[in-house]
């Protein structure tokens, strides 16, 4: 009898092959449907041919716009990335600070955890007007929307993880004379760092989503702005590469965060612990 399926491991090449398979399947699906639709209506905009998309990409990424003289894709990317970076950084900081505080200190937990839970459940899009009076219409409100969107998740996740630290370790630290602050710097922060990074990885999708939504509300540049703008005439030849580009960047961030995790927390992969 062969090995159980849970004990069989693909090699490097195998992993690559299996990993690529679903992507190829989706691509094949797209090409089929696109070809079908284009056969019916050569001007179909919903699923443009790859060649059309390629042309558009060349125009967006390498040709300066006639009106502004800027290369649209890069302008949009720079604007969006700046907003995203701010949003992620602020959210991560909040997640770490409030998450640790509320996970570690029972009084803060009592005070914060129901509030954070409720805030995390409020649909932010419905309260945009209130956001606008408080934070204006510029970059700030976009960053704030990202923060409102993902910080509550980060806070709750981190707080749950802090609560799950084995009590023996916290006790041990105290018997070694650690103050609360030292427990945070030497035990909680280093063990939470990889959890924070994992949580950030899981928030990348929502963060981009909130960014794009924010850019749809009031903006003059940004990837989300462009997508909503061209949606007005169903320019999927622009939307699809933009979405692919966003996904690629998000994937690279995800990959980078994972690599960062391995670097900063070598103990996770060393040994069997």
């Amino acid at each position: 009898m062969g090995l159980r399926i849970i004990n069989r491991r693909p090699g490097r090449g195998g992993a690559l092959f299996w990993g690529a398979l679903p992507f190829l399947a989706v691509l094949a699906l797209y090409l089929t449907f696109s070809a079908m639709r284009l056969a019916e209506n050569p001007n179909d905009k919903l699923l443009p041919a790859l060649s059309t998309i390629a042309e558009t990409v060349v125009r967006l990424a390498f040709t300066p716009d006639q009106r502004t003289g800027q290369v649209l894709l890069w302008v949009d990317t720079a604007a969006s990335l700046a907003r995203l970076a701010w949003g992620l950084a602020v959210s991560a900081a909040l997640g770490l600070v409030i998450g640790i505080a509320s996970g570690l200190v029972p009084y803060l937990r009592a005070g914060l955890s129901p509030f954070v839970a409720v805030v995390s459940l409020i649909p932010p899009m419905a309260l945009l007007p209130i956001l606008f009076i408080s934070f204006g219409l510029d970059e700030l409100s976009k960053v704030v929307l990202i923060v409102i969107g993902i910080a509550p998740f980060l806070i709750r996740d981190l707080a749950m993880r802090v609560e799950a630290i084995p009590p023996e370790l916290v006790i041990k630290a105290q018997t070694l004379g650690a103050s609360t602050w030292q427990i945070i710097t030497r035990l909680v922060l280093p063990t939470m760092l990889p959890k924070l990074i994992d949580a950030l990885r899981l928030s990348l999708g929502p963060a981009w989503l909130f960014l794009i939504s924010a850019e749809a509300i009031a903006a003059q540049d940004g990837l989300g702005y462009r997508i909503f703008l061209v949606r007005r005439y169903l320019a999927m030849d622009v939307i699809l590469p933009y979405v692919a580009w966003i996904t690629l960047m998000a994937f690279l961030m995800d990959w980078g965060l994972r690599a960062l995790n391995r670097r900063t927390s070598p103990w996770l992969t060393r040994g069997m612990a």
Partner: protein, 291 residues
Amino acid sequence: MSTVRVRNLWKQYGDQVVLEHINLDIPSGEFCALVGPSGCGKTTFLRLLLAMEQPTRGTITIDGKPLPGEPRPDRGVVFQRYSVFPHLTVEENIVLGLEFARAPLTGRLYGAKKRRALEEVAETIERVGLSPSRTKYPGELSGGMQQRLSIAQALVRKPRILLMDEPFGALDPGTKAQMYVLVRELWRAERMTVFMVTHDLKEGFSLATRVLAFDKVRHDPQAPEAYGATVKFNIPLDDKAERAEIVSKLPALAATENEEGATRGRPWARLFDFAGTTRRKRRESHERTSV
């Protein structure tokens, strides 16, 4: 100074009475070995001393003052399942206690201070036999190595009271012997009060100056959870030189010894029946063989 006094201590988990009616007077500097059947509540007793758990009833005082309601550096601990910090190397785990003491703000030493601290603990690391594994993470250590790491970690802070839960259980005889020497030395030098749970009676009798045997004295076959364990035998090993020294320094305590009727007439000799060893061994073990 760290005289431990326990008065009418009870501990229940839900309906189950784990410990009942425990009274103890432990003079400062005493080395107590806690023995007793598996599951009788030895670990629970240590957890109470550590203030990890609150007693259901009764009080614990140290030097007359109520036990602080939380773990403090005056009470060091080696847990039964030797938990060490998984994100720190052997060296970092051991030097941590010093860092907490010397870097109040960050809990981390740098540069020359760090080097000095590392030098200070180098001997301890050497003596627990972890020098070759100095830069390994706990996940890369064997069970016995983790246990030694945990011991070294607790010793570095030189606590006034040291609580150890089967600290040598996962060690081979040779390594164990080295650890005995290490712990005894520190105990003598720092005049620590030690509580050590052990299942090795010989170890208990040879290391300690007092043996506390936990067991149930009341049984209800219908409701095995109705009664808890207590200190069935409280055996000061008066023939030990160290003990004579401890007691001589504390004449006040000599009186309380008389409370412990159990120590008279050696009814605790039955302890060795558990061991499943032949009776002929009993006396031998009680002689202080070199450890």
